[in-house]
């Protein structure tokens, strides 16, 4: 498989780390997040697990700016992102996928990935109208997008409408979009839920490769087998709280966690 070019990896210590302090969020009296304090490693794979309604997706929504916490703060390195708009957070290299796959289903797969490319000249009105140097940048973006499609194994479907891909392929496409956006931190909401076991293996393999590239992958998941296979750390949530955090072997062996959340 052709490996996409990635930006030169800085040493682990120099990468700004994502951390949150005392995050709280209420919906109509229901506390979705309760004093969530968490420091993510600068790279690796972190799984967030817990029963439905534990606050996992709410945490992802807060960390990507789609929800504002009632109290508490979160940071990327020294930058506080608590009140920052979602698109600005994305531009800082934090990309996400959604449980309900969000794609532009009517346009080709390649267009979806090209949309994700950052700093596009042609997204400015002046350049869109007069197109100085636009063709060259479009060609580079196309090439870059194709490389990420090759990385996830969708290059053969590049010109098919995204809506015609299988569910599993659409999950791969959302991953390619995050990567084309040059994200260093990927927050994935149930990346292997509802897909064929072969596709699950493929996605988990890609997550391992991303870890090898020095990226931080945070994923919410109910599939404990997948979590055991790839996660370096596990965060267990319940009723908006973090009730356990550590290495999978250590956390998932605790009887109370096994009994209550793992089965």
């Amino acid at each position: 498989m052709k490996q996409p070019e990635v930006r030169s990896q800085k040493s682990e210590e120099s990468q700004p780390m994502l951390r949150c302090e005392g995050l709280n969020k209420c919906f109509d009296g229901t506390r979705a997040l309760r004093d969530v304090r968490l420091a993510f490693p600068s790279s690796g794979i972190v799984a967030i697990i817990g029963p439905n309604g534990a606050g996992k997706t709410t945490l992802l929504n807060v960390l990507t700016g789609f929800l504002r916490p009632d109290t508490g703060r979160f940071f990327l390195g020294e930058w506080e992102l608590t009140r920052v708009a979602p698109h600005r957070i994305a531009r800082l290299g934090i990309a996400r996928t959604f449980q309900d796959l969000r794609l532009i289903t009517l346009v080709p797969v390649l267009e979806n990935v090209m949309l994700a490319r950052p700093n596009q000249m042609g997204e400015r009105l002046w350049h869109a109208l007069f197109r100085f140097g636009l063709a060259a940048q479009e060609a580079r973006n196309r090439e870059h997008a194709i490389r990420w499609l090759q990385f996830v194994g969708l290059d053969q479907q590049a010109h098919e409408p995204a809506g015609e891909l299988s569910y599993g392929q659409q999950k791969l496409l959302t991953l390619a979009c995050c990567l084309a956006a040059e994200a260093r931190i990927l927050l994935l909401d149930e990346p292997v839920a509802g897909v064929h076991p072969n596709m699950t293996e493929k996605i988990l393999g890609l997550l391992r490769e991303l870890r090898g590239m020095g990226k931080l992958v945070v994923f919410v998941e109910h599939d404990m087998t997948a979590v055991r296979q790839v996660a370096d750390q596990v965060v267990v949530m319940d009723e908006g709280r973090i009730i356990a955090h550590g290495q999978p072997k250590e956390v998932l062996e605790r009887p109370e966690i096994m009994e209550a959340y793992v089965g």
Binding site: H87, R88, R91, R102, L115, M121, E123, A181
Partner: protein, 290 residues
């Protein structure tokens, strides 16, 4: 022959209006019911500058476009934070406000009396006086609007507009400042609508508020829907059909009172039929709703 040319001039003017609305409604998914108001802004700005200060047509045209873009910017900042139906209602409110200003600010617009004696354009020494001249000018303006809209849609800018139409959350998650794109599309759309208004004012040489009512806005929306929202040719086809079709009724021999009402029935029936059987319009691909 003059009559046919007159109809073609109206077709060209409505093509500009339909294309500009399609940039907003078809490509971005923002249905605006204030397009006639922006057309009116261009018409009044250009007409007032020409009649009060003798400003040349071209400068008046640009001034009208600038005023419409500026007003759209001011209106869009609060209204574009609204979603779907609420945005539609906000633009409807703006349409009503602007119509009231056209109708009631007597000192500026002369209200229902309108502005007569708007001079015919002189463009770089070319006195646009005959209907054929106006047709050439109208066609040039429609060509300009097509160029602008097509360039925007086929560039990465257009890719983001489509993303906003399909799924704004997805666009935001990919780092796109969707408010910037919506405000810009709204401003370009309003400016192009104003250019059509300016042409209309200098062609008819008289304007009054009844030319810029909500009914006109709905007519322009009908053109976009019937032609095919979000498609290159849809608004052009829609404008041609909805301008030419009612004119054809003149030759059926109906009394004028009946024909006028029949037109409204035809618009309504066409919209219902298209929504039921061909929601993507005559030549469109995607349909109007998200």
């Amino acid at each position: 022959m003059d009559y046919v040319v007159h109809i073609l001039i109206l077709v060209a003017t409505y093509m500009v209006l339909a294309m500009s609305l399609d940039l907003l409604a078809g490509s971005t998914g923002l249905l605006s019911i204030s397009h006639a108001a922006f057309c009116g802004l261009g018409a009044y700005t250009s007409a007032l500058l020409a009649t009060c200060f003798g400003v040349p047509f071209f400068i008046g045209l640009l001034a009208g476009m600038a005023v419409a873009a500026l007003i759209s910017f001011i209106v869009s900042l609060p209204s574009l934070r609204l979603h779907d139906d609420y945005f539609v209602i906000a633009t409807f409110g703006f349409q009503m406000i602007l119509f009231s200003i056209f109708n009631n600010w007597i000192g500026l617009t002369r209200g229902p009396l309108g502005i007569p004696g708007i001079p015919q354009p002189i463009l770089f020494g070319w006195h646009v006086s005959s209907r054929l001249d106006f047709l050439i000018l109208g066609a040039a303006l429609a060509g300009f609007a097509y160029f602008v809209v097509h360039r925007i849609i086929s560039a990465p800018f257009g890719r983001v507009l489509h993303a906003i139409r399909e799924d704004e959350v997805f666009a935001k998650a990919l780092g796109k400042n969707t408010l910037y794109f919506k405000v810009t599309a709204f401003a370009v759309s309003a400016a192009l609508a104003a250019s059509a208004g300016s042409l209309y004012a200098h062609y008819i040489t008289y304007i009054d508020p009844t030319s810029f009512t909500v009914i006109e806005s709905i007519l322009i929306i009908s053109m976009v829907i019937i032609g095919g929202a979000g498609s290159t040719w849809g608004p052009l086809v829609g404008a041609a059909v909805l301008v030419v079709l009612p004119e054809a009724l003149r030759f059926v021999g109906l009394p004028s009172g009946v024909a006028a009402n029949l037109r409204q029935i035809i618009y309504g029936s066409l919209l219902v039929i298209m929504m039921m059987f061909r929601p993507c319009g005559l030549v469109g691909k995607y349909g109007f709703s998200k």
